[in-house]
Symmetry: C2
């Protein structure tokens, strides 16, 4: 496994591999590090369908708001490299901030509409930062396929919209959310939770499972408003949970819904704070 810090070295490494094997399929997993089984599953998916697997680890300041956790975002380079190697990664791209932003950036990639709700509303500017750094990484790595976890469903919708609109020559592969045994979605931010918060954090996935059951039983007999009220009521039973948002929207357009239509795909999306820690989770359901 090669560990590379500089853009020119990374390009050189991929270029020489492509020269040896012109049909080379390059798989790419962009991350912010502090890797968990969710990231490992993306690397393994890339491993299965590509000839080489490139992982990037970069905590991108551009996608953090001024009062967010950029400085304290958890980092563990040594463990990350072990996880990457174990999952069959060929190249780890580990740039410094000055390598990605040698001078203040003047160019931004902005995606409208799919960014107006959910985390786009709670975290202004967040998805501009995500779209811009992903565009940069795509231009640096030039992958054939890129792998993203569905825990960040809105991020997947934003990246897919960007790829479509800008004709980026890369296939986006969404991968299922990986969970703890008790249902909590794996997230680098779970380490922030204290013992009691960790216990109550299962309320997100439990509320989503309940919503899935209700939709499977009632389908179009339920309104989006009823569904989301049930979800909110469920979450409020956990005294430490503070709802940032709980919404049901069309997927992947992320537009609001007056009623359900048979066969349409919807997302139930949650962001819930436990103390200072904000967790997100979602489920995507086709209305029966």
């Amino acid at each position: 496994m090669q560990v590379i810090q500089h853009i020119t070295d990374l390009r050189q490494s991929i270029r020489s591999r492509r020269a040896e094997q012109p049909s080379l399929r390059v798989g790419f997993v962009p991350t912010m590090g502090f890797l968990h089984e969710g990231h490992a599953s993306l690397l393994e998916a890339a491993r299965r369908s590509c000839d080489i697997v490139v992982l990037s680890i970069f905590v991108n300041p551009l996608q953090f708001g001024p009062n967010e956790d950029f400085e304290r975002y958890p980092r563990d380079e040594e463990r990350d490299l072990a996880v990457a190697e174990q999952a069959g990664t060929d190249i780890v791209f580990l740039p410094q901030v000055a390598e990605m932003y040698p001078q203040p950036i003047k160019t931004m990639v902005s995606v409208r509409e799919v960014t107006t709700r959910l985390c786009g509303a709670s975290r202004p500017g967040h998805f501009d930062g995500v779209a811009t750094v992903v565009a940069k990484l795509f231009h640096i790595v030039q992958p054939d396929a890129a792998f993203f976890g569905m825990k960040d469903a809105q991020q997947v919708a934003v990246i897919e919209q960007m790829v479509l609109d800008l004709n980026l020559p890369v296939e986006i592969v969404p991968c299922p959310t990986i969970r703890e045994a008790d249902g909590l979605a794996k997230s680098s931010r779970n380490v922030y939770l204290n013992e009691e918060e960790r216990k109550q954090a299962t309320v997100l996935s439990a509320a989503l499972r309940e919503a899935e059951t209700a939709l499977a039983e009632s389908g179009v007999g339920l309104t989006p408003q009823q569904l989301i009220e049930n979800v909110r009521t469920h979450i409020r039973r956990s005294p430490l949970a503070e709802i940032d948002y709980a919404e049901v929207l069309a997927f992947p357009s992320l537009e609001p819904l007056e009623s359900f239509t048979q066969g349409e795909r919807i997302i139930v999306a949650l962001a819930v704070k436990f103390g200072k820690t904000r967790l997100i989770d979602n489920c995507i359901v086709r209305i029966p």
Copy 2:
């Protein structure tokens, strides 16, 4: 010479040429058509330094304001293809609007600071439309080098900033402005001018030559304000000329200047209207 209308066909054509010759250097000239000797000089520059030359002809609605000349922008496909062939073009990409924008675009590429003055101020949104379509075309063609005329100096500054900020894997090659015998910069919009306007339109290049002479003689003895006042006075002698802007700025940052510094590069940039026709021209000078 191949003429291609669809993105998938273009990609296929370039991919198969690259497969035959992995070291293939692809040169790209993006245009809005109605080709003149300026465009031909870009194609010839690409011809000299690249293995294949791709020309795109696309009048991009995204870069025209609601009261601008998108509908009446001059088009002559037959003559364009003759000019392209004559200049040694290998592939002409000629997409319809629906091919480039199959649904309303939600993603925009915006470049700040270099777009605040000159045409960025006169034509709000113009450079977002330019940056976005050029990013799309770069992703579609995936050229090694792209050629742009310095008549549109601010466009060159915007594209260079975008390429730098987003790590686009393409070399930008700025090429000199091509002029008529009397000095008028070649432009597709020159056909809009009536006989008297055409005569007076030489005032742009004449004022720029005078500015160059003044700078060569006086250098830092001149202030930017004095220089631009001389340029304005010169242009006002033409009764049909209506100044949209006349500015002297640092190049390529396009920031305003209080005074000149020896060795620094500056741009004198003009936009002047003759009736409904808006012409631009500029010169770039290193202060002696």
